[in-house]
Amino acid sequence: MVSITVSKKSLLKKISARVSEEKLYDALHQIKCPVESEQGDEITLETTADRPDLLSSQGVARAVRGFLGIEKGLPLLKIEKSGVKVFVDSPSLKKRPFATGAVVENAKLDENGVKELFQLQEKLDLTHGRRRKRVSIGLYDFDELTPPFYYKAVHPERFTYIPLKSQKKMSLREILGEHPTGLKYAYTLSEFERDLPLLYDSRDEVLALIPIVNNAASAITAATKRIYIDQTGTDLNAMDASLNILCQDFADSGAKIKSVEIVYPDKTVTTPDAAPEEMALNADYANKTLGTALSKKQIADCLQKQRMGVQQGKGRVLNCLIPRYRADFLHPIDLVEEVALGFGYNDFEPKKPSVFTIGRLSGETMQEEDLRDLMAGAGFVEQWTYVLTSAAKHAAGEAVRIKNPVSSDYNAIRSALLPSLFDTLSKNTHEPYPQRVFEVGEVVVKDAKHHLRAVSQKRLACVSASAQANLSEIASLALRAAKLKGESVSFRKAERAGFIEGRCVALWANGKEIGIAGELHPSALEKMQVQVPVIAFELMV
């Protein structure tokens, strides 16, 4: 989920004056950008990750106009030539070899417009651009620049400029080492050893250290009329979509879009390419998937409401034209969802389930229920605690550890149930005794022979703390629990850390140890700050 904040007044103005607030909010809910909160004129919309074209009020207005039938089908995007060339020195640019761009003329920005433009750029960089790694966008005052432009990795001391959010001239090396934005995005340049990717013009004026920070000299303001949009990145498809999102937004607001020529060593490409993508949709496939009986015309209407172009094809086929600012079409199923959206999710009549199958609980659950009945019947209270735990609560190297924990209290997965039962006793010394507690739950143990190397296991464990606690109290219970599996169980004397010597037994079945039962050693009780005897067992079930 991505949130954007826009002016309600300006959004309504972009849609058309005659839409009530209620109708607007309902439409927003139906096109994947519901209102999350509002404060005065500012509304915050929450959009889904597949719709970067809804990260601006212009894009939202375009979708709402379609959904409400104010303006359907492909939005207009006329592109003229600007004659601007960008020379790309691909070999020096490693895995970031692509550039695209466009010139915007007659941009009608105001304070709010600039704010929303920067918000769109930032959100696109973050989500669609994968934190600038896949795509990064730069916006410049075109009147401050002198084309052609050059995109090339250069020596880090060769150029200096005053970056945004700074007062002094800095070299590229200084920007990466000192500037806040430089520090934040330095990771995107990890594969550049010495030379750094730079965009500069024919007078050696820097546009930006790519994809880090722009030159303050060509910064955009509310008064900017002509804008240069630059994009660099690793994935041409993704770059294509975001450039079209920006250009379509400007075009919708009445600006003129002009293309630029990207000159690679081996070829020249013109961007933006706004030619809609074609994809065929079979009406029968759509109807079968949705459970509907819509005519080709109805389907076409739904698609047009979603701003698709539709040409009636042969037979049951509709030839769909997908605007280039939509990057999420891989398969006709994606068109089917557009049909559903255009139809309106709440206008479908839910169909009663029709398939017949016989349901059943798993054997694992049935067995768990037997164990829970047994333990509760024996007077034990059930707890159900977190699987996540602190590695410190388990023997060194025993618990499976997490690489990116959010807290040291939860940096591993428990490999046994008893530690959390002991924890419960420690936390409840003020509660009346006897305290008898059990848990049936999952643990994860390392196993080098298993294909996952770490195996999830169901266990049963219990503790009994009372003045009279004695292993004989639970030995028979452990045996009964173990036998619920239907296996023949035997005992062996065992020694385990934390248990009193000579007061600990291991349970065996099928030549394998399946559990342990014993009386806790006073030193273990001291550590737990529990002042009554405690007996415990843990079993694989």
Binding site: V355, V387, I402, E431
Partner: protein, 492 residues
């Protein structure tokens, strides 16, 4: 059977008595009385309460000063005859005198001068002292009052202030003293009577055999007390019971239960679900990666190839994600971030339609930890596999769940996005007393995912977050309380 001392304590404590007093009455040390009281208390035969009170006492220095007169008073007396004297001369003359003669050491002289002035005994004029008064000061009076040892002197506000000054002078101190009061309970008194053979509280087989009950009075039960005995029963966990109820409802609807591992390979958690390897939901802030062990092994080589093709070139008429798919990334271990890998594993087993499968299990996602978020929660997931499945039927299932499982009165659908379903939908339900709530996400598995897993019929899938629902049903204010270790709450 009561011990002799217990009997003795009980009979002396028919009225409330202080423990020291009881010790005197019984003629034993306090510690013996206290252990008898403790034992009586455990049996419910006696009640005790502790009264803490504030008392005051003189310090050793205070007692010494009480005997020797406070230095400022000694200074004043030295002026009694002459009424006035030069400070330096007075100091020297007092230093040469002995204690008995009312002398002051040079160190004491400073203190004496300070307090004599503060308490209005003398006045300092340039170079000399003038006597103002010889009456006892507030300090003298209080020192004496505390020194007399009245056990709990009632102090006036002015005296309390003086006490603080005496404390500063380390002459007096405050002490908290604890007193234990003991009184026999009605059942204690009965036990006493029973010991004396006057009444019967507990009928025993011996009494029946010997007809010892004849002519005796039975002690009536204390009715309210009968119902106040705490129960130490076994009890099943409330949330687990709720989950069992949900499972049974799903079984009633015809679903078969499945399980899967908590530590899972990215392959099953993501790749097999057609989530591109650079998808933001795969980043470290959205999924817990396992450090040790770090990688598993994908045994299904044919499946692995199909998944690779689905990602790189597309399957079932899809363009695919068009990038180089990395099997190494896919083998990394994570904590499953949803229960969908359980469904994917079920589908990959070559099952034939019709199928309806569900799974309830723990899933893990990095998040803030607060009253409504935790990094580990329970998810309830289900799939329906059949040639006849459609989006409308999916909406039908969601509506049934909302009404049946959540007790909702009304449902609403909103479009949504999940990387492995298309179309995707969010289920909103109107829950009595709570209003509209998002209760789950659902959709139809993407054709690319199904094709890679070898499935050629549509599959509906839904996942419901059930911890929030459980909070509502169990009346909890904090999501962490679902997993509480508070025994009182678990026993309740």
């Amino acid at each position: 059977m009561l011990k002799d001392l217990e009997k003795s304590v009980l009979s002396k404590a028919q009225e409330k008595r202080e423990a020291n007093e009881l010790a005197k009455l019984c003629g034993v040390p306090l510690s013996s009385v206290m252990s008898a009281v403790e034992s009586l208390r455990e049996k419910g035969f006696a009640a005790s309460e502790v009264h803490a009170s504030l008392e005051y006492a003189l310090t050793e220095e205070g007692m010494e000063m009480l005997a020797r007169t406070l230095p400022e008073q000694r200074l004043a007396r030295a002026l009694e005859k002459t009424q006035t004297a030069a400070i330096q001369e007075l100091k020297e003359s007092l230093a040469s005198k002995t204690l008995v003669e009312g002398g002051l050491s040079p160190e004491e002289f400073g203190i004496a001068l300070q307090w004599a002035k503060a308490l209005g005994l003398v006045e300092i004029r340039p170079g000399k002292l003038v006597l103002l008064s010889l009456s006892p000061t507030s300090h003298d009076l209080l020192l004496e009052k505390i020194g007399q040892g009245t056990s709990e002197p009632k102090l006036s506000e002015a005296e309390k202030k003086t006490l603080s000054e005496l404390e500063k002078r380390t002459l007096a101190k405050r002490i908290v003293s604890k007193k234990v009061f003991v009184q026999a309970t009605p059942s204690g008194l009965n036990a006493l009577k029973e010991e004396r053979g006057e009444v019967i509280t507990q009928l025993t087989p011996q009494m029946l055999k010997a007809r010892a009950w004849e002519g005796k009075k039975f002690v009536p039960y204390d009715v309210p007390a009968l119902f106040s005995v705490p129960l130490a029963l076994g009890k099943k966990h409330a949330y687990k019971q709720l989950l069992l109820e949900i499972k049974q409802k799903l079984v009633g609807m015809g679903f078969v239960e499945a399980h899967g591992p908590l530590v899972e390979m990215e392959f099953w958690n993501m790749d097999a679900l057609f989530m591109a390897q650079d998808h933001p939901a795969r980043e470290i802030h959205d999924v817990f990666q396992v450090e040790d062990p770090a990688r598993g092994e994908i045994l299904e080589k044919k499946l692995l190839e199909q998944v690779r093709i689905a990602h790189e070139k597309g399957l079932a008429g899809s363009k695919g994600w068009r990038y180089r798919w990395d099997a190494e990334v896919s083998a990394r271990l994570v904590l499953r971030s949803h229960t969908t890998p359980v469904s994917a594993r079920s589908l990959a087993k070559g099952i034939r339609p019709p199928q309806r499968i569900f799974c309830v299990g723990r899933v893990f996602r990095p998040d803030e930890i607060d009253w409504k978020h935790f990094i580990e929660f329970n998810q309830c997931e289900g799939i329906v596999m059949d040639e006849s499945m459609s989006f409308r039927e999916l909406l039908g299932y969601l509506k049934e769940f909302a009404l049946e499982v959540f007790g909702a009165k009304e449902v609403r659908f909103a479009p949504s996005y999940f990387p492995f379903t298309e179309p995707s939908v969010e289920l909103m339900a109107k829950i009595p007393g709570k209003g509209w709530a998002e209760v789950g996400g659902a959709g139809m598995f993407r054709p690319e995912m199904l094709a890679a897993l070898g499935v050629d019929v549509p599959v509906l899938a839904w996942g419901l977050g059930i911890d929030r629902l459980a909070m509502i049903k169990l009346g909890l204010k904090d999501i962490r309380d679902l997993f509480t270790q508070d025994l009182k709450a678990l026993r309740a």
